[in-house]
Amino acid sequence: MREIQKDPKPGMPFNMIEGMMPMFPMIAVVGWMLVLIALFVGFTVLSPAQSAFFADAKEARETAAAGSTFVDANVSRHVIEAWVPQFKFFGLGLGLMAITMALGTIAKKLRHMGKVIAAHMPANLAPPTPPIPGRVRMFQLSTVMGVMILLAALIIGIVLATGVVPDYFNHTIATELNTAEVNSELLSQLGTVSSYAKWLNPLRIVGMSFLFTAITLALTVIINTLRMQAGMLVQFYNKASG
């Protein structure tokens, strides 16, 4: 058996991504934990806040003053709805990233296996080692892009949940929020809190799409590697037996 050639080390950021690839089970567990935390927050904070807010008549809810149980509950439920969905999707994103990394690891092992078989062939019959497919870098970049978009959505959610959302809802509904005048700060804040979900939710799906694309690209790397190695073996068979 001849010596197996090692692949050259990739540059940044691919060396970092490839270094993280074997950690995929841990990343999947972390992703699952984040979704579990989202469930826990839903059970322990969001549900009680909703329950507290809707525990009395509309008039009582809407005339409650800032600092009251009703207004605090109203703030809590809107704050949680600003960051928890982004947090949950980030957890799902880590799960998808783990799948991509697992497929990447399989592709890497397949390449190594191909080299081992080629190393057992006589030098005059062995095929040259093919270069690393460009799609490997594409799926790695697509994975990073997807996770970064989901992380950006989470950061935006946290910024909203610690800024404009509590600022707006920490007011009496009937006498302050409903009577806000044109060009007032409250009405401008209402514009923000009523519109962010309209673009942030699709942005999350764009992030997920990059991760789905990364999985598809990683699968094409595996499929093409299998096809190419089968082709090389057939060539070897024809040369050796012909």
Partner: protein, 121 residues
Amino acid sequence: MLNVAPPKSSWQAKVFPVLTAIGWILVMISFVIGLSLSSTASGYFGENTKESRDGAAVGDALLGDLETLTVTPRWLEPLTFLGVASFMVGIALAFSTIPNLLSNRGQVLNVCFPILVKKGE
């Protein structure tokens, strides 16, 4: 009979890239419409008092905005999820090509292995 031919291309291998492309098209359409809706929501809620919003009469632009804001999400979300489903079907079809490839690889290796052993001696 021994099979020493490379694997044949399957229909799944031809269809899954198309489904990925459809997924991207649907997701990007919903993102662009989402941006437009966000702008409408920001204008509707952020530039009009509750009194004017509640008092909008038939034919008023405000009532049109309200209709857009309440109607569009009802079909936009299923459209987005159709995009997500397209990605997932694409992934499933890509996976479905692998068993045949592995089966072919096993057959080819089965034929090549004795030659490898003989030539390696």
